[in-house]
Symmetry: none
Subunit: 209 residues, 4 copies
């Protein structure tokens, strides 16, 4: 029985258990909502005792923040905006949109469903979400899109609004999926390309006229 059995391994185990608990929290929060979810159920689902959750997270709120960080990390895996040129403009938009849609896996939606309701009802969490996720995401996107927007002849403010419209569309689509709107579920395959066309339409409308 070694007393210090490899400190690195220890650390990894800690990380793994944290993720186990977060995964359980994400599942239970998304199924029942933050308040109906009990620490007991999350602990059970994670295979630990109630008290153990408090070794890894200070309190229930910290679980929520842990999920926010998780979302943050998956958001950070941003698409590679580097080599955008005039030529592959349309290709770029389409691939960007495609990449965004890839977030909408069951896991991504679950995470979103776990977090969003609480964000909408908890001002502090909302502020945190705005600062830690929304703003950085838009900043990154704006930087990446700036050259395209410019060359498309869009004025910067309007370009930014268009980015927000797209983000809104994504969020709204996730919500309709959560609600289970049947027609959207049935024809989900049509959605990504239509979304890309919409983006292109807005970004190129000036040229049309």
């Amino acid at each position: 029985m070694p007393r210090k059995p490899n400190p690195e391994l220890q650390e990894k185990l800690v990380v793994i258990k944290r993720e186990q608990i977060l995964q359980a929290a994400s599942a239970v929060f998304s199924e029942k909502g933050y308040h109906r979810a009990t620490i007991k159920e999350i602990a059970t689902r994670a295979g630990v005792a109630d008290g153990t959750v408090y070794t890894y997270f200070e309190n229930k709120t910290a679980l929520m923040l842990g999920l926010l960080d998780w979302l943050n990390q998956s958001d950070q895996r941003q698409p590679d905006f580097a080599q955008v040129t005039q030529d592959n403009f349309k290709t770029f938009i389409r691939s960007y949109t495609q990449q965004r849609f890839e977030f909408m896996t069951d896991n991504g939606i679950q995470l979103f469903q776990a977090i969003l309701p609480e964000i909408l009802s908890n001002p502090e969490l909302r502020a945190l979400y705005l600062e830690k996720i929304i703003k950085p995401t838009f900043t990154t996107a704006e930087t990446a899109f700036a050259p395209i927007m410019n060359s498309a002849g869009l004025e910067p403010d309007e370009a930014k609004v268009i980015l927000r419209l797209e983000a809104a569309l994504f969020v709204g689509l996730i919500i309709l999926r959560i609600i289970g709107e049947p027609h959207l579920e049935q024809h989900w395959d049509k959605v990504p390309s239509l979304t890309a066309e919409m983006m292109l339409g807005l970004l190129t409308k000036k040229e049309q006229s």
Copy 2:
């Protein structure tokens, strides 16, 4: 000697008090979320005693359902789809979009913020929302748009998806507003027309090619 001196007046007072309580519930739910909202606070805000709430609503859940009905009623005040013709096609889309945006008053957003988080976390409420609000709204809209969609040469399924995209965009915009995204708030005036353009772009893309 009338026992109930003026029964009609009585009934009106009942309706008024119900609305007072619903208004208070909407405010408190939207500020704190369904679970953090207490009956005590709702009652106080409505200017009645705790117990009085239960004279008008069976329980806390019924307050939520009452708000759903409210939303339903404001949704039912559908735009006048009657005189759509080929000529005023663009005008129609623009005015339809405009009318939709008029829902986004402080009160409309508050109501939405009160209801949505709970819908996302409560499967039963979600199902109810889908049946009582989402489906009827789409059915109405589909009927109204059918002639336009047809004449635009869109196949019905795709046309329906486009309607859902627009709805998603609305929902997403409300959420970004709730979160308080600053750029969108600042340039909100640009949003309605951009949204209308987006719709037009999608509905006419077939003609373009």
Copy 3:
């Protein structure tokens, strides 16, 4: 529309309404127990409004006391003990027992069921019951039975205990009926005579030896 339409009639109406309410209280108390019974249900059952109950009874406790008085009155209709002689000794016991059993109508049991549980759990009501019903009943019975007991050669204290045993037997039988013991229900016709025999056995055992 006469202002004072016959004061006597008025008084009778008052009495009648009081009894309506008491009847309703007896029914609801016996069905649900004192605490689960609500003033609302009693009022509805009596065909009046909630508040009206409080015109006739100060509070819920007073309803219970009203029922006690009722029980008292039906108890007071004591059998005619006057002409007991040595000769008709057995006849007397049998007819006395018989009269007692006649109390066990549905209504009598209902009243008992309404009152007893509360008496067992409410010390004040219990004391009242002891003073106003139990003691007077035993006093009356003791007086009536005294000559018989004497001539039977029973010492007074023991004679009194025997009276209490009989009372206990009655109470116990009512309880078994309330509980619905099936064999007793089925062979209820055998009970009165067996009870009378039991009494006779006890009262005459001295003579046997």
Copy 4:
């Protein structure tokens, strides 16, 4: 490192605490009645916090059922009916009666007083009591008494009724004791033998004639 250090001890502690709480419940229920008794008072009396009661009992009703089980257990400790013969017939009846009276300790009466009022006012509990206690008790007694009853020349149905009369007498005596009838309290020592005589009288009356 044992997680549960000594699981057997743990289990015993659980049983002990359950009994502590039941004892407290019995006391408070009997003093105030089921509804006036509050979980707070029961918990305090048992020396635990409010919430702790719910670790051991699902809800207030379960406390009542726990008491029923308790009563059941003390009832199950049935007298030894085995060696009844014609010879010791009278001895048997007297000892049986005696054993029954031994239940009437303060604790036994308290338990009865805690349960009975609720049984009389709660139909479901009543049915449970009938099935789980009354019927088994009579079945056991009938089996034990069958040979005696037979040899006494009693027809079975009547014999069964007599058993019920005796049970009724016991119940009634407990009630008179709860109510505090003074003469019975004072001369309680006379009661057991008188009860036994009564039983004997009924069971042998056929022989007399």
